[in-house]
């Protein structure tokens, strides 16, 4: 795709396991005002449209959309809620701009999951109400089953998954936004408490609070806003069946289809050679390997051994989750994809501080909406 849309502003809060001192409105305000400052824009005049990615039950409201405008500067302006991940929201902002209706769009996503005392029950509430929900239990049993199916069909191992945890939590030590940085070894993960076998405690990302905002602009507007635009040159999103029983549990078909759509738009034939680094969903350790293979960044069954060889480490051939990912930064729910986009933008701007990658021109961000969905998105960014 030609260079039609760029990220012209980016901001976020830090990510914290608890934010007792701030309301969800204050988190959103902090994320938004830092992005507007970064872009040098006044939302009340300069931003044409606002998109928030949110779900009622995460927020504890019916019609959460009501509570969005004031803290974003969107009062009496075009605004809407997209019930999807932050990357879905970015894609919707892109097509708003491409449709010609608006020029500048702000996309917000957040998690205030510390307000929710019944996370497990809410996740279970997303299961099919007739066939699955009555089975009850902790909804992450699905994670154990899927991890098992993936490892069995791909040939990757539990140790490979533990290697993902070790890499990402070590990476997070260099990310000032991340609360879960740590020198975690493969053995530490393997010896952690089995929870949803074969998934162990350290294979699972912890929930955190935070808010992220990106501002996008049409090419004609970009020059007057920023000297360091990061262009969006391809994006895609896709959903597999909502039926747990109807999926191929060994592969992430939503990631295959959404990346295919994004690569096509960006004119990428071979992502391994044409993309420099990626931020992929790792809400659970095996998901990173599953997604790497679905995105065509490693052959089927190869992601684990490639990881072992150091290929995905910050100094490897194809760095993945330099930010620390969800394992290192925490699970931001619908904001997870926007966090991935934020990291890619910072890397391409050369503003990733101690974790800055050298000579990167093109990066990929990918998201998955979490249990029990098979929905996700992918986006290609260029300097």
């Amino acid at each position: 795709m030609e260079r039609r849309i760029a990220v012209v502003g980016a901001g976020s809060t830090t990510f914290e396991p608890d934010t007792v001192g701030q309301s969800w409105k204050e988190l959103m305000y902090e994320g938004a005002s830092s992005a507007y400052r970064d872009a040098g824009l006044n939302p009340r005049k300069d931003i044409d449209s606002f998109v928030t990615c949110a779900e009622d039950y995460w927020e504890g409201f019916s019609i959460y959309d009501e509570f969005v405008p004031d803290q974003l500067g969107a009062v009496l302006r075009p605004a809407c809620t997209v019930s999807g991940d932050g990357l879905h929201g970015l894609a919707i902002a892109c097509i708003q701009i491409m449709s010609g209706m608006v020029d500048v769009v702000a996309v917000e996503a957040h998690s205030k999951i510390s307000d929710l005392i019944t996370y497990n029950d809410v996740v279970l509430h997303a299961f099919d109400p007739v066939y699955n929900k009555p089975l009850a239990g902790h909804p992450y049993y699905v994670v154990g089953m899927e991890m098992n199916a993936f490892l069995d069909s791909s040939g990757n191992t539990e140790e490979h998954c533990a290697g993902v945890v070790s890499k990402n939590r070590t990476n997070a030590l260099r990310n000032p936004l991340a609360p879960y940085g740590g020198e975690i070894s493969v053995d530490d993960v393997m010896e952690s408490e089995p929870l949803f076998s074969p998934a162990k405690k350290l294979d699972i990302s912890e929930l955190v609070d935070g808010s992220i905002v990106l501002v996008l602009a049409r090419a004609e507007k970009v020059k007057e806003i920023t000297d360091e635009p990061v262009w969006i040159t391809g994006f895609g999103w896709n959903s597999d069946t909502p039926w747990l029983e109807g999926r191929d549990w060994g592969r992430a078909s939503y990631a295959e289809s959404s990346s295919k759509m994004a690569y096509k738009m960006a004119g990428i034939a071979n992502p391994v050679d044409e993309v420099d680094f990626a931020e992929v969903d790792d809400k659970f350790s095996y998901k990173e390997l599953m997604h790497i293979e679905a995105l065509g960044l490693a052959g089927r069954g190869q992601a684990g051994s490639d990881l072992e060889s150091g290929r995905f480490h910050p100094d490897g051939d194809f760095p993945i989750n330099v930010s620390g990912g969800s394992l290192g930064c925490g699970n931001l729910l619908e904001a997870s994809g926007l966090h991935r986009a934020l990291e890619v933008v910072l890397q391409l701007r050369g503003k990733a501080d101690g974790r800055q990658l050298k000579d990167v021109e093109r990066g990929l961000a990918q998201s998955w909406r979490g249990v029990p969905t098979a929905s996700g998105a992918a986006m290609v960014f260029e300097r």
């Binding site: 009496l76 919707i92 996740v123």
Partner: protein, 386 residues
């Protein structure tokens, strides 16, 4: 910008649909729209779904649950959500898909299943309030609409009789709608003598909760020209949200609707909406809301809508036919799915497919609008023939 046409519409019967799931209703409406367009699901490039609170269906991530019923497996699929405004906002989101070049054919589906919220969908509305400022007062939607209606009547010195005429007109129009839930031949006195809910709102001033789904097929001009000689095009869109703090504004006029309308008129190059709009479907969950929204849509002066209604201008054979479908008051109010009596109705009226509901003036340009969140959201869509 690529022009975008409407090729087909569909909607289920609006009722308490205990036998069908939301997935099944979504399928039914989608299949009807595809049949009308002469297309198959394999022709659809992307799917947009609109549905209001998850608490109605009682399913977290409701959009994910409904996606196979809406035909979206293996396709780019997104759900948008702006409260009651979703009914007209969802086709606007579909418009972006086609106008951007991302899709040549986009299936737009709107679904609501309120009856599974027990004992009454009103209980889901218990959670729409600010948890500190409003919720401890245990407010109820009928109460705050009573406040808005009262304010509107007070500012413009409107009589209840003139508001009741809207309910009479819409419920009578609904007699011609095959999906209608509360069609009736009533008199103004019937409305004025109905049970008082929260003064000045009475039983027959209100639309009924309902279950249902509706769907629209949007397509690029190239696809449209292969399938029809006389396509209906999307001509203007606007959407706008006001502050969450509803207590801070004068409720007599919906400024957010006016801003959304101006955005849509500008896009459609309409300078004088009163002259250029031939048929209108403003959101009418309460009878006074039709009047409120006619004024918000700038189809008449502030305070003039009750007079036009009294003079018969808004009747199906009047100068400005308004809610010829029968509206929410007559056909029913399954929140997002009312797309079927707003956006679908305007399409059917312009395409000459409205059957017994067809307005007799050969309309060229029509407008529809929905309203939602906490009396703070306006979504507006304009369609035009050729």
């Amino acid at each position: 910008m690529r022009r975008v046409a409407v090729l087909g519409g569909g909607m289920t019967i609006f009722r308490r649909r205990l036998q069908e799931t939301g997935k099944e209703m979504s399928f039914e409406a989608s299949r009807m729209a595809l049949n009308e367009a002469g297309l198959e699901l394999s022709d659809v490039d992307s799917v947009v779904l609109g549905s209001a609170p998850d608490a109605f269906d009682g399913i977290h991530l409701k959009g994910e649950n409904l996606l196979d019923g809406a035909g979206a497996v293996g396709k780019p699929y997104i759900r948008v959500f702006v409260g009651g405004g979703t009914a007209v906002f969802t086709p606007i989101a579909g418009w972006w898909h086609v106008a951007s070049g991302l899709a040549d054919v986009c299936l737009v589906v709107a679904e609501e299943k309120m009856s599974s919220c027990f004992p009454h969908p009103q209980s889901a509305f218990g959670h729409i309030w600010d948890p500190i400022l409003d919720r401890p007062l245990k407010p109820n939607l009928v109460w705050i609409f009573a406040m808005e209606m009262n304010r509107y009547m007070t500012v413009h010195n409107v009589r209840k009789e003139d508001i009741a005429r809207v309910a009479v007109k819409n419920k009578r129009n609904a007699l011609d709608h095959p999906s209608a839930q509360l069609a009736a031949d009533l008199t103004v006195d019937d409305v004025l003598n109905s049970e008082v809910m929260a003064w000045p709102v009475q039983r027959l001033d209100i639309s009924p909760p309902s279950d249902g789904a509706s769907a629209l097929i949007l397509a690029s001009e190239d696809v449209a020209k292969k399938l029809t000689d006389d396509p209906v095009f999307l001509a203007g869109a606007g959407w706008c949200i006001d502050s969450t703090m509803w207590t801070d504004r004068d409720l007599y006029f919906p400024e957010y609707v006016a801003r959304a309308a101006r955005m849509a008129y500008k896009m459609a190059k309409i300078e004088n909406p009163r002259k250029e709009i031939d048929v209108a479907e403003p959101y009418d969950p309460f009878d006074y809301k039709e009047l409120h929204h006619m004024e918000g849509l700038l189809l008449c002066d502030k305070g003039e809508a009750p007079i036009l209604t009294r003079e018969g201008v808004t009747q199906r054979d009047g100068d400005l036919p308004t809610c010829p479908s029968g509206g929410l008051l007559g056909v029913g109010n399954p929140i997002a799915a009312t797309m079927g009596i707003k956006a679908c109705e305007i399409y059917w009226q312009l395409a000459g497919k409205a059957g017994k509901r067809q307005v007799p003036t050969d309309p060229q340009t029509g407008i529809c609008q929905a309203w939602g969140d906490l009396m703070q959201y306006g979504s507006v869509l304009i369609m035009r023939r050729g």
